[in-house]
């Protein structure tokens, strides 16, 4: 989809709001505790639910590592990917799925929900999220074409960079 070396993954306000709305709805409808979306490279995109006591940055990075390792396993046995992972704990469970081959959706839930319900709701939300990420890709491509990419970094100076390290 993108040239890996010279592209950034960009998130705009509008799409962020749409994504947040979808995962918040999913949180309610699936009766889950926490939901977050992670880029395959391990960057946290959005989260909702009981995140206050969670290290979401680490969770994002480990989830991406997990998906990457599982993807490697899939290739070794001739599968394209394993699109759903499920980890069952004593109290909490984690349901991980891949959306549009690009983004990882993580749902953490306990006894108040069930795997069946989560799977059902995730499936519906995945379609909505896939559409948003598709729109986002189109938007980013258009921005680039029209030269409106407007990178916040286009005009930084050496001083700006040096100041970071002072």
């Amino acid at each position: 989809m993108l040239d890996p070396q010279h592209n950034s993954f960009v998130m705009y306000d509008e799409e962020f709001q749409r994504i947040s709305a979808v995962i918040e709805k999913l949180l309610r409808e699936s009766n889950s505790k926490v939901i977050f979306l992670v880029d395959k490279n391990g960057q946290l995109i959005a989260s909702c639910g009981e995140t206050e006591h969670l290290d979401t940055t680490s969770l994002a990075s480990l989830t991406a590592g997990n998906i990457a390792a599982t993807g490697g396993l899939a290739k070794l046995i001739g599968e394209k990917e394993f699109s759903i992972l499920f980890h069952e704990g004593e109290k909490d469970n984690i349901h991980i799925s891949i959306i549009a081959q690009r983004v990882i959706l993580v749902v953490i839930f306990d006894h108040r929900s069930s795997l069946g319900l989560v799977r059902l709701r995730v499936k519906k939300a995945s379609d909505e999220l896939a559409k948003i990420f598709e729109d986002l890709a189109v938007k980013a491509a258009e921005m680039e074409k029209t030269g409106n990419a407007d990178s916040p970094f286009a005009e930084i100076t050496d001083d700006d960079i040096d100041n970071l390290f002072s």
Binding site: V10, N41, S58, A69, I161
Partner: protein
């Protein structure tokens, strides 16, 4: 591939520390972790074996501050250096924005350095990257040890293109932050050049 988030006004970049087994990649991250103010760093994660050899990766998130109203965050990763973990190394290189090659300056590790450098190039190419076009820094680590290959020879073998390089002793911290700053700077300059692409 950096992640620019206009909604939260953040920019996230990924730096990977690469190099042969036991060259000091994890030590680099540990030192950065120890010497960074608590509010600027997240938790350091090490997926290691019982003998503290890196099994999958180490991960350290760092927040450097703001540029033009955008919080800049760097995610530091190490790869497992041992030869047989190649499949894992490939995975960690995905989406990389900048690479630090940590060389073990000891004479007996010269071949391992060269092999690891070739391995880095191969693995990057497999994912459509060219090392020459990536922000790239070399660190000659373990300079405190008595049996080091002369710096000129290391440079000739590992750094034919003359990318920025530093001598270091990661255990005492010498050269560690210089290396990190240099690669972060190159990444930000690359972002400036490339726009959001």
């Amino acid at each position: 591939m950096s992640f620019i988030n206009y909604a939260s006004r953040e920019i996230n970049c990924k730096i990977v520390y690469y190099g042969p087994g036991l060259c000091g990649k994890t030590t680099n991250l540990q030192l950065v972790y120890q010497k960074t103010a608590p509010d600027a760093k997240g938790k350091m994660i090490s997926l290691a074996t019982e003998t503290e050899r890196t099994l999958f990766f180490d991960f350290l998130p760092l927040a450097l501050g703001e540029i033009r109203g955008f919080k800049t965050r760097f995610h530091l990763y190490t790869v497992p250096g041992q030869v047989f973990y190649d499949a894992s190394r490939k995975l960690i290189l995905k989406g990389v924005d900048g690479v630090v090659f940590v060389a073990d300056s000891q004479e007996e590790r010269l071949d391992a350095n060269i092999e690891s450098m070739e391995n880095l190039k191969d693995n990057l190419e497999e994912q459509g990257y060219e090392l020459e076009k990536l922000p790239f820094i070399i660190q000659y680590n373990k300079q405190d040890l008595p049996n080091c290959t002369p710096l000129e020879e290391l440079r000739e073998l590992l750094n034919p293109n003359g990318v920025p390089d530093f001598t270091a002793c990661a255990q005492t911290g010498e050269g560690v932050f210089e290396t990190l700053k240099a690669v972060a700077k190159l990444i930000l300059l690359e972002l400036k050049k490339g726009g959001t692409g």
